[in-house]
C-alpha cells in the first residue's frame, strides 16, 4: 500500500507565490530537509496509530490553491479573548495580529517578530520543517529576569476555513529568564465548514529557578486538525507545569518533549482528552532526565465515546548519571461505548541506578454500582453518567495550574462532555 505523500513541488510553488518569487536560504534548507525525510508515516514507531493522510491531503490541496492574503481575524476572536483576563496575542490563520508589540509592552515582556527559522528540526520532527518552510510570522518572547507577570500570556490560535481548505503555521519561542514566573494559555479554536490544518511549534526555555505554568485548551471545529509540538528545556531548579485539554477537532496530535537538564528541576504534565464520533486524539509525551535529582509527573485521563480513537504514549528516559530521578506516569481511560478505542503505552527507560519510577495505565467503563447508587437518589441515567464522567475528569481539572482558568475550562469541558454523552447513546 502506498501512503499519501506531501507534494514537494506544489509546496515549493506555493512558497514562491507567498514569498513573491525568491526563497530565502533558511526556507530552502528546510524545504530540502523535508524533501529528504517526508512527513512521518504509520511505519514510524512514534506514528504507528496516527495516519497523517488527511493532513497531507489538506496540505496538498492548499499548496495548489494557496491564497496567502487571506488572514482576516475571525470575528469571534474578541469575544473569546474578553472572557479571560490575559495579555492576549492573537494568531489568526497563522498570522500574528498587529497589536502584539503594544500588548507585549503592557505585559512587561520583550517581543520580537520572526519570519525565519534557521535551526533544523529535531530528528523525527519533519512537521517543524514544514512549519519553517511556510511560516508567515512567528513570535520570539522573553520574560525578563525575576519578572512576575500579573496576567497569563494568552496565545489565541484562531483559524477560519470556509469554502477552501485552510493551512496555518504557528511558531513561538518563549524564553523565561532565571527567577521569572509566568503563566501561559494556548487557546486553539477554529470556525468554518472547510477542512483546516494547523501546525504549531513552540520552544520553551526555562532559566535557573524559573517557573512556567502552561495550559493548552484545544476546542477546534469539527473536521479541523492540529499538530502541536512543544519542546521544553529546563535548567536548574526550574518548575514546569503543563495541562492539556483536547476537546475538539477531528485529528489532534500533540508531541510534548521535556528535557530536564539541570538538577532540582521538576515537571508536572497532565491532560484530559475528550473524544467522540470521528475524533482521533494522540498524545505523545517524552521526558528526558539528564541529571538528578529531578522530578517528573505525568497524569493523563481520557474519556472516549462513539467510534473515538485515542493514543497515549508517555515516555520517561532516565539517562546515565541521572541518579535521584523521581518519575511517575499514569494514564486512565474511560470508554463510554464499545466502538471507542485507546492505545495506551507508558514507557520507562532507565539507565541510572538510584531512581524512583512508577508507571501505570488503565482502561475501563463507568462503574455500574455507582450509576445505580445515583439513580436510586432520583438522578436520571444520563445525568448520572455525566456526573460520574465529569468526576473522572475532575482530578485533572482540579489540578489546573492556572487558577483563573478553572471556570472557563470547567464550562468548556462540561459542554463537550454533554455532547459526548449524547453521542455515545
Amino acid at each position: 500500500m502506498t501512503q499519501a505523500a506531501l507534494s514537494i513541488e506544489a509546496l515549493e510553488a506555493a512558497v514562491r507565490r507567498i514569498a513573491d518569487g525568491g526563497i530565502t536560504p533558511a526556507r530552502r534548507a528546510a524545504l530540502e530537509r523535508l524533501k529528504r525525510t517526508g512527513l512521518p508515516t504509520t511505519r514510524d514507531e512514534d506514528w504507528k496509530y496516527t495516519d497523517l493522510a488527511p493532513i497531507i491531503d489538506i496540505s496538498n490541496r492548499w499548496f495548489a490553491a494557496a491564497d496567502p492574503a487571506e488572514n482576516a481575524v475571525p470575528t469571534i476572536a474578541d469575544s473569546l479573548a474578553s472572557r479571560i483576563d490575559a495579555s492576549w496575542f492573537v494568531i489568526a490563520n497563522g498570522s500574528v495580529a498587529p497589536d502584539a508589540a503594544k500588548n507585549a509592552e503592557l505585559a512587561g515582556i520583550k517581543l520580537t517578530q520572526i519570519d525565519e527559522i534557521a535551526a533544523p528540526a529535531p530528528t523525527g520532527a519533519a512537521l517543524s520543517d514544514l512549519n519553517a518552510v511556510l511560516l508567515q510570522n512567528g513570535l520570539q518572547i522573553a520574560v525578563p529576569v525575576d519578572a512576575r507577570l500579573t496576567k497569563p500570556l494568552g496565545f489565541l490560535c484562531i483559524d477560519e476555513a470556509t469554502g477552501t481548505p485552510g493551512l496555518s503555521q504557528v511558531r513561538i519561542e518563549l524564553d523565561v529568564a532565571p527567577g521569572a514566573v509566568c503563566e501561559v494559555l494556548e487557546y486553539h479554536v477554529s470556525t468554518g465548514d472547510a477542512p483546516h490544518f494547523s501546525n504549531t511549534v513552540i520552544d520553551l526555555r526555562l532559566g535557573d529557578g524559573a517557573r512556567a505554568a502552561f495550559v493548552r485548551l484545544q476546542n477546534r471545529a469539527h473536521g479541523h486538525m492540529l499538530t502541536a509540538r512543544l519542546q521544553v528545556e529546563q535548567s536548574r531548579d526550574s518548575i514546569f507545569e503543563h495541562a492539556a485539554f483536547d476537546l475538539g477537532g477531528s485529528l489532534t496530535r500533540s508531541d510534548l518533549h521535556v528535557n530536564l537538564a539541570g538538577p532540582g528541576a521538576s515537571t508536572e504534565l497532565s491532560g484530559l482528552y475528550l473524544a467522540g464520533a470521528h475524533q482521533h486524539i494522540d498524545n505523545h509525551i517524552r521526558v528526558d532526565h539528564r541529571i538528578g535529582p529531578a522530578v517528573s509527573r505525568q497524569e493523563y485521563r481520557g474519556i472516549l465515546a462513539a467510534d473515538a480513537r485515542c493514543v497515549w504514549n508517555g515516555k520517561a528516559i532516565v539517562h546515565v548519571g541521572a541518579d535521584g530521578t523521581d518519575a511517575e506516569q499514569a494514564n486512565h481511560n474511560l470508554l463510554l461505548s464499545t466502538g471507542a478505542e485507546i492505545d495506551a503505552k507508558p514507557e520507562l527507560e532507565i539507565y541510572a541506578d538510584e531512581v524512583k519510577c512508577s508507571h501505570g495505565a488503565t482502561v475501563g467503563e463507568l462503574d455500574e454500582q455507582a450509576l445505580f447508587y445515583l439513580r436510586t437518589r432520583g438522578i436520571e441515567r444520563d445525568d448520572a453518567t455525566r456526573i460520574l464522567t465529569r468526576a473522572f475528569g475532575n482530578s485533572i481539572i482540579s489540578k489546573l495550574p492556572i487558577e483563573a482558568l478553572r471556570d472557563i475550562i470547567t464550562e468548556t469541558v462540561d459542554a463537550r462532555l454533554s455532547a459526548l454523552i449524547e453521542d455515545g447513546n
Binding site: 462503574d367 454500582q369 455507582a370 445505580f372 447508587y373 445515583l374 439513580r375 436510586t376 437518589r377 432520583g378 438522578i379 436520571e380 441515567r381 445525568d383 448520572a384 456526573i387 460520574l388 465529569r390 468526576a391 473522572f392 475532575n394 482530578s395
Partner: protein, 250 residues
C-alpha cells in the same frame, strides 16, 4: 402502600427469591431478618430497581403502580429510598452536590421549585447535627474515605433530606459502634410517621432495641418462613437461625 406478590428472582442459574409475598402499609415499620444468603439484600435491591437480577414471576406495586414499569430514578422520585448495605464511594462528586441534586429531583417531581442554596445548607446542617455528623462531610467526595459508620450515617442523612414515603434500610446497622447505632436509630425514628413506611433489613436484633418494629419477618432460603410481632425477633435472637431452619424443613 407496597404490595409484593409471589416474587421470584434469579441470577444466572441460581434462584434467590422463591416466592416472596409481603404487604406493607403506611405508618408501619417492618423488620426483615434472616441469615446471610437468605435473599434479604436482593429483595431490597429489586424493590429499588437493580436490573442485575432476573424477575421470573410475581409483582411489586407501590400505591397501585407496577414498579417494574419504573426506572430506579422514577422509583426514587415516587418516594422509595434504599439505604445501601455498602454505600458506594464516588470520588470527585461532592457530597453536598449529590444531596442537592437528589433533593431537587424529588422537588421537581412534586412540582416544586429548586431548593434555595441557603435553605439547603441550613437543612443539611440541622440533619447532620441530629446524626452527629461533622458539617465538613458535606464538602467531601461522596463516601470517599468515610469509615463504615460515617457511610451509614451519610445514608441516613440522605434519607432525612429526601423524606421518602418508603425507606428500605439494608443492614444499615451492621458494623456500627453503639454511638453510631443510636444516631442511626434516632434518624430512623425521626422519620416515623403515619404516612410513611420503613423496612429494616437486618441480621441482628440489636437495631430493633432502638427502632421498635410493628412486624417482623424471617426470610430463609428465598422465602418468608415466619412472620410475627417484635417478640419474633427476640425469640430469634435467643434460639438462633438454626431454629428457623428446623421449622422451615419441618
Amino acid at each position: 402502600m407496597l404490595d409484593i406478590r409471589d416474587l421470584q428472582v434469579r441470577t444466572g442459574d441460581t434462584a434467590i427469591l422463591r416466592g416472596v409475598s409481603l404487604t406493607i402499609s403506611a405508618g408501619e415499620v417492618h423488620a426483615i431478618m434472616g441469615p446471610n444468603g437468605s435473599g434479604k439484600s436482593t429483595l431490597a435491591q429489586v424493590i429499588a430497581g437493580r436490573d442485575d437480577y432476573e424477575v421470573t414471576s410475581g409483582s411489586i406495586t407501590f400505591d397501585g403502580i407496577d414498579l417494574f414499569d419504573l426506572a430506579p430514578e422514577e422509583r426514587a422520585r415516587a418516594g422509595i429510598f434504599l439505604g445501601f448495605q455498602y454505600p458506594v464511594e464516588i470520588p470527585g462528586v461532592n457530597n453536598a452536590y449529590l444531596l442537592k441534586a437528589a433533593v431537587n429531583a424529588r422537588r421537581k417531581t412534586n412540582g416544586e421549585s429548586e431548593i434555595d442554596a441557603f435553605e439547603f445548607l441550613k437543612l443539611a446542617k440541622e440533619k447532620m447535627a441530629l446524626l452527629g455528623m461533622d458539617p465538613k462531610f458535606l464538602n467531601r467526595g461522596v463516601n470517599e474515605g468515610f469509615s463504615g459508620g460515617e457511610k451509614k450515617r451519610n445514608e441516613i442523612l440522605q434519607m432525612a433530606m429526601l423524606e421518602p414515603r418508603l425507606a428500605i434500610l439494608d443492614e444499615t446497622d451492621s458494623g456500627l459502634d453503639i454511638d453510631a447505632l443510636r444516631a442511626v436509630a434516632e434518624g430512623v425514628n425521626a422519620l416515623r410517621s403515619p404516612d410513611r413506611a420503613i423496612v429494616l433489613v437486618t441480621h441482628y436484633q440489636r437495631l430493633l432495641d432502638y427502632v421498635e418494629p410493628d412486624h417482623v419477618h424471617v426470610l430463609f432460603d428465598g422465602r418468608i418462613v415466619r412472620s410475627g410481632d417484635k417478640s419474633l425477633a427476640i425469640d430469634l435472637e435467643a434460639k438462633g437461625y438454626e431454629w428457623v431452619r428446623e421449622a422451615a424443613s419441618g
